[in-house]
Subunit: 485 residues, 2 copies
């Protein structure tokens, strides 16, 4: 089915990827601007997508032993200051409530940019004994970070996310949790629900979460060759536990400081999904999270034809709903061609065309979003079997195309000149893998010279060591460099 070249081949070179992205977001009805700078309004089609993503992610969070809870939107400003790196990282971008109930507050309140501090405060109260551990909680909520440059879904002042916060008895348990989330929740979700091949790895010191010991990430390649940090899982060590006095009496009677983790994934993933799968016709929704999985377009000219078509449309809708397919029929008074374009723009995985001859023959035409030329005529009795199968094929085609594109844009260079050339060439832009000396200064110079950052030190990597991609000194860190959103 993957017989059409990916849109980026013709879009990226035209320098309009950013505009294409905005066009898709707004024209497909995913989101709109809002009267508050940097905030977005998520429209029903975009929110339905988010709901399906949430459900699939939440299932994984619960299946791995976590429970949901809810913590306050506001954080006393003094809390943020308790962890030194944390306040340095977040202070510049917080929104502050100074007045409430008609009075000035004695202590200003921060609108949560993330909740490690307020949750740490509660955990200190809830954790007393090793018997209380591990504590495995997650919350779905909104957070606010005052960003200078915003873009719908990708970087907004307010966004929706889940943030998991866990407490453990030992360092090993905390590390195991951090990796469990990376692998069994995030990576698995990207592959199986969003059809996005992610790269799992460790963040460099300069890129880790403010206050964390180690940050793991799933990075994905977008349709223009840039990287998107799609979800992160942090081993917080004992930093927050120390700042918030999360201590427990261990089995040996000793009072010990706990180990904590946190991990989050947000509406940013919607932006990633658009930029990984979209093509020149618009969105391509991964079938498992698509708000509408199959769109029926009835075709008729005379009123007499309409009746026969309507009967078959109703039959097909009922048959598909019965097997759990999210199907909708488009009875708008518009030409079929208009509807085809509209639903392609909105990325519906399968189009079902039903015309007068189809009604007569008891058949329908299926067109997968991943290939305009792969039309299939299916008898009406076969629809409920074939459509779910084809949804799985569309999922696989999207994944295969995204992986092939990433592979075609991933390089191992012979020189720093080649490194710079690739990063300066829109037609080749992508991920560059190579050795890194491990020096933050060297990393900073690469960024200053090329805008590329170390996206991660991948978990799957070659053994050994080699000359640093930038300075040439021998390094044992294997890194993925890229420009990033």
């Amino acid at each position: 089915m993957a017989d059409e070249s990916k849109f980026v081949e013709d879009l990226a070179e035209k320098d309009d990827f950013a505009q294409w992205y905005l066009d898709v977001v707004y024209k497909a009805g995913l989101a709109d601007e809002s009267p508050v700078r940097g905030c977005m309004t998520i429209k029903p089609y975009g929110y339905a997508l988010w709901e399906h993503m949430q459900r699939a992610m939440d299932d994984r969070i619960k299946a791995t032993g976590h429970e949901n809870a809810y913590f306050p939107l506001f954080i006393p400003s003094s809390f943020l200051a308790r962890e030194a790196e944390h306040i340095e990282g977040f202070a510049p971008e917080v929104a502050v409530v100074t007045h409430a109930g008609g009075e000035e507050l004695t202590e200003p309140l921060i609108v949560r940019p993330t909740s490690e501090t307020v949750i740490g405060h509660m955990y200190a109260k809830w954790v007393q004994s090793y018997r209380d551990l591990p504590l495995l909680y997650n919350q779905w909520c909104n957070v606010v970070r005052w960003e200078k440059r915003t873009r719908p879904f990708l970087r907004t002042t307010e966004f929706l996310w889940q943030e998991g916060h866990t407490v453990h008895r030992t360092e090993d348990e905390a590390e195991a949790e951090t990796l469990l989330i990376l692998n069994d929740v995030y990576y698995d979700f990207f592959v199986k629900e969003l059809a996005i091949p992610g790269i799992r790895g460790l963040k460099s010191e300069s890129q880790k979460f403010p206050g964390a010991l180690r940050t793991y990430t799933v990075e994905a390649m977008m349709g223009d060759g840039k990287a998107l940090q799609s979800a992160t899982s942090h081993n917080l060590g004992q930093n927050f536990a120390r700042s918030f006095d999360i201590q427990f009496q261990d089995a040996d009677g000793q009072v010990k400081t706990a180990w904590t983790t946190s991990w989050g994934a947000s509406t940013r993933m919607v932006g990633g999904l658009i930029m990984v799968h979209g093509d020149s016709a618009g969105l391509r929704m991964p079938p498992r999270v698509a708000p509408i999985q199959a769109i029926v377009v009835p075709i008729w000219r005379k009123e007499a034809e309409r009746e026969a078509v309507a009967a078959l449309v109703a039959e097909v809708e009922a048959a598909l709903k019965a097997v759990g397919v999210r199907v909708k029929a488009d009875w708008r008074e518009e030409r079929p061609g208009f509807k085809y374009n509209d639903w392609e723009l909105r990325g519906v995985p399968i189009r079902i065309e039903i015309g007068p001859r189809d009604a007569q023959n008891g058949q329908v035409v299926l067109v997968p979003r991943t290939s305009r030329t792969a039309k299939e005529t299916v008898s009406k009795d076969g629809v409920a079997r074939r459509v779910p199968e084809m949804l799985q094929e569309v999922h696989q085609a999207l994944y295969d195309q995204a992986l092939a594109f990433r592979q075609s844009r991933t390089y191992q260079v012979q020189s720093y000149e080649e490194f710079q050339e690739i990063l300066a060439d829109k037609a080749r832009l992508g991920f560059i893998e190579g050795w890194w000396c491990g020096d933050a200064q060297c990393e900073a110079e690469v960024k200053a010279e090329t805008q590329a950052t170390i996206r991660c030190l991948p978990l799957e990597r070659p053994d050994g060591s080699g000359p640093c991609i930038h300075c040439g000194k021998t390094g044992s860190a294997w890194a993925v460099f890229a420009k990033a959103y």
Copy 2:
């Protein structure tokens, strides 16, 4: 099964209902305090309850043709002022962001207390033609109202809710929508999911939503005889449409002002559920939304017994999960009596006791939360059939008890003296039904003299008119008076 008298008989007179409520909330692990005044932390057991409530409510919202969307947390402060009654109602209790991103904002931002204004602004953009109508959207989100006196779930500075916002072509359509939500979403939800018999009615002018034309409400009687406004549905008339320029070109070519509605239900319903159903042993969870529907308590003394018991426990758990029952086994190292009390406090609808003799005989003992004396011995093969049935019986028993209690505490009085006596007597406190002259001044005097307010003008009412309960003038409004949360 409803063979035990309701707890209020022994609790209400002891003047400790308020303390009982807090004890249940905190000891059952539903919520905890937070470091921010008036905000609460919803703990996993309380949040799981909320998730089940959300799912059941959301299903009804979608089944009646609505879609979910998401609008910004922040509202420009000028927006609030556009509707005169609205700002008067909400200005005193808003939280205000004055600084963000390290700078003072040119226009302060309100943290949404409700979203009519910001949604009205977006709707003005989205609604152009009568073909765009009706617009039927809902959002699940957090809102903030700076309350002076707070109580977990019942009245908190931040709370979670759904707020529906719709736009219509005509006044009739808006009124039909307002009533559809009242009946098919809220009332139906209270009866079928929460086992709460609500009273549907219209709010008086003094009690309606600031800016609304008409507010409909579902009022429920709590275990102490007070009322809780549990959900409201507002016909906003053209007030917000005028303030935010929501206009459309009608089929006749004329540009017309639209009609809007809004409707909301919040985490406050959790407080209502506790106060309607709880008894002296603690919570009683309505089975359909209970996080745990059946708790298995294994009983053993010797290690040899434990093995046989464990095998049957596993079998029962698997059989119940297979039929969709939310079951959990309590293997803590505690005495059975401790566990019985703990799960009664948490309100689990059915306890399943499994001891060595039960293991030998292939049977279990079922105890519904609604009656300690109604133990039933059931063969292990009958568990998967009997438990779902008993859950339905517990639901019905809770509903019947709540209805019987409300009926026993609902009065039609002969004089204003009797009215005052009932409202001053904890043992009799309840709802008083009667004629009202319709005069706001008269209503205000009743409130000043008795603390009772008009909870609603019920939709189910006698015809005709009669002497006002307070002033004696003939009135045709039939009202329910009560003290309220």
